[in-house]
């Protein structure tokens, strides 16, 4: 049988009332807000911190994603930050003393066209130069890694090969959030749920606090990590962001014996599949095309991804969809995140992770905490500034990130 998840105590953190003032207030209690608070407290000695969350911790995208972790991005800037993130994933279970089922089972990114093949081989070479583990596999080698995949030419888009990153994998996303929340709490961070930020307190061009549904909270610095709602929150502070929010859906099947040993992703036929520890098949697709905050998308998107999945994995034809859901993802035009200072003093923003920010959670928090603590970006997030949209130094990751996650 598949491995049962570990047992948990009833409470992993306090639920404190907000204090009247903090050194740092983080807006958003998803993965990125939590890691930011963790790195502020554990690595910068800043423990007078609150994370304020509109709903419940990890009720946004953090526990809605398909939990894929990899670092095989094309450009140097992305490879550096995502590879740092992967290295942090490799040490976080021990550092947080919490087994959140991080499983380095590898990822196959399939190629179905000559264009895919060229892009993939180029990305493998770029990855290697950046110290990211990457290989190009023939269809036969793909079959060796994942025996249940159809590498025949009897499908609409036969597999012409794949890139393979053995160190990639998945983790149990809700447990990651709990691991971080527990450690943040131990370090003195206040995690405040049901607390929506409704406005900002400013003194001239400097932010000095937030208005919330639980009252006014003064803050030396404020960091925004509100994912799909980043533009709404930033706008209240007078900052515009180049973000479009879209629905992104995923689904799971009923539980099965372990049959799928790795993670398979295909940009071309728009599907990605892994099998969670409990045994369910986890599938995701591309975003719905329109701007949307409904946390739901069109069923035709699910139909398309299922059709692709069944072609690639004929044995999945008899599986059932148990549950579908959606999140709200914050996309940028270059498919890269923004971890940056803003035009408002002491206000910082971390957003734009779009469809692929779960894997970035550790490095996001690490670099954002550094940016907040020093009022200067960490070398890894210098390129991910808001200014890049003006200077033109975009980091176009549509090949590696546009559809994939």
């Amino acid at each position: 049988m598949a491995v049962p998840p570990p047992e948990h105590p009833d409470f992993l953190w306090r639920n404190p009332e907000p204090k009247s003032s903090y050194d740092v207030v983080i807006v958003g209690g998803g993965g990125h807000g939590l890691t930011t608070a963790y790195y502020l407290a554990a690595h910068h000695g800043i423990t007078n911190v609150a994370v304020v969350e509109r709903g419940w911790l990890a009720g946004g995208n953090m526990a809605r994603n398909t939990a894929i972790i990899r670092s095989n991005y094309l450009w140097d800037e992305s490879a550096a930050i995502y590879e740092q993130s992967l290295k942090l994933w490799e040490q976080l279970p021990e550092e947080l003393d919490y087994d959140f089922l991080f499983s380095q089972r590898g990822v196959l990114n399939l190629a179905h066209t000559l264009g895919d093949v060229r892009e993939s081989r180029r990305r493998v070479e770029a990855n290697r130069l950046n110290g990211v583990d990457a290989e190009w596999l023939s269809p036969e080698e793909v079959q060796d890694v994942c025996p249940i995949i159809n590498t025949g030419d009897d499908i609409r888009y036969p597999i012409m090969g794949a890139t393979y990153q053995p160190r990639a994998g998945i983790a149990k996303h809700d447990h990651v959030a709990w691991a971080l929340a527990r450690r943040c709490d131990e370090l003195g961070v206040d995690l405040i749920q049901n607390c929506e930020v409704t406005g900002f307190l400013k003194d001239g061009n400097r932010v000095v606090g937030v208005e919330t549904t639980q009252g006014r909270i003064h803050a030396g610095k404020v960091g925004l990590a509100a994912a799909g709602h980043s533009s709404q929150v930033a706008e209240m502070a007078g900052v515009r962001l180049p973000i479009q929010s879209h629905p992104l859906q995923a689904l799971v099947s009923e539980l099965f014996e372990p049959v799928h040993p790795t993670v398979v992703m295909s940009n071309h036929v728009h599907v990605y599949v892994s099998q969670a520890h409990k045994g369910e098949l986890v599938l995701g697709a591309g975003i719905d095309q329109y701007v949307g905050y409904g946390q739901r998308g069109g069923f035709h998107v699910i139909e398309d991804q299922m059709a692709a999945a069944v072609e690639l994995f004929p044995m999945f034809g008899r599986a059932h969809v148990l549950r579908t859901w959606g999140g709200v993802v914050d996309t940028t035009l270059d498919a890269s995140p923004i971890i940056s200072k803003t035009p408002v003093d002491q206000l910082y923003v971390n957003c734009g992770w779009g469809t692929g920010g779960f894997k970035g959670t550790p490095a996001s928090g690490m670099t954002f905490a550094h940016t907040i603590a020093h009022d200067e970006p960490h070398p890894l997030n210098v390129p991910f500034s808001l200014e890049r949209f003006e200077t033109g130094f975009l980091i176009d990751e549509h090949g590696a990130a546009g559809v994939a996650h």
Binding site: Q232, G238, S245, G298, L333, P343
Partner: protein, 104 residues
């Protein structure tokens, strides 16, 4: 699946349409007069409202014509549609959703 009322053909399935993002973003009359910040605004910054949104759609699998719609981005309900034109649809001025943030 949304049912989108094409102003030329009537209500059709969402799968017949392609999305064009925010409506009424016009090309700057004198691009050379724009500094980098203003050009970035034109290229990369779009409204992203939670609520009513004036946006463009094209009926690609039907009449193949572009039109404007006002849609609620939370309920996904299409409130009104009108053929492409200079006036923001639904009587909602495009500027009303534009906050002039201090992004320099």
């Amino acid at each position: 699946m949304m049912l989108i009322p094409c102003p030329h053909c009537g209500p059709r399935n969402e799968t017949e349409f392609a999305y064009g993002g925010q409506a009424h973003v016009s090309h700057p009359e004198d691009p050379h007069a724009l500094d980098d910040a203003a050009w970035a605004r034109y290229l990369f910054y779009r409204e992203n409202p939670k609520g009513l949104f004036a946006e463009r759609w094209v009926h690609s699998a039907g009449c193949r014509r572009w039109f404007n719609a006002v849609r609620n981005t939370v309920t996904y309900e299409v409130q009104s549609v009108e053929p492409i034109g200079p006036r923001p649809p639904g009587g909602r001025p495009a500027e009303s959703t534009t906050s002039e943030g201090g992004h320099a």
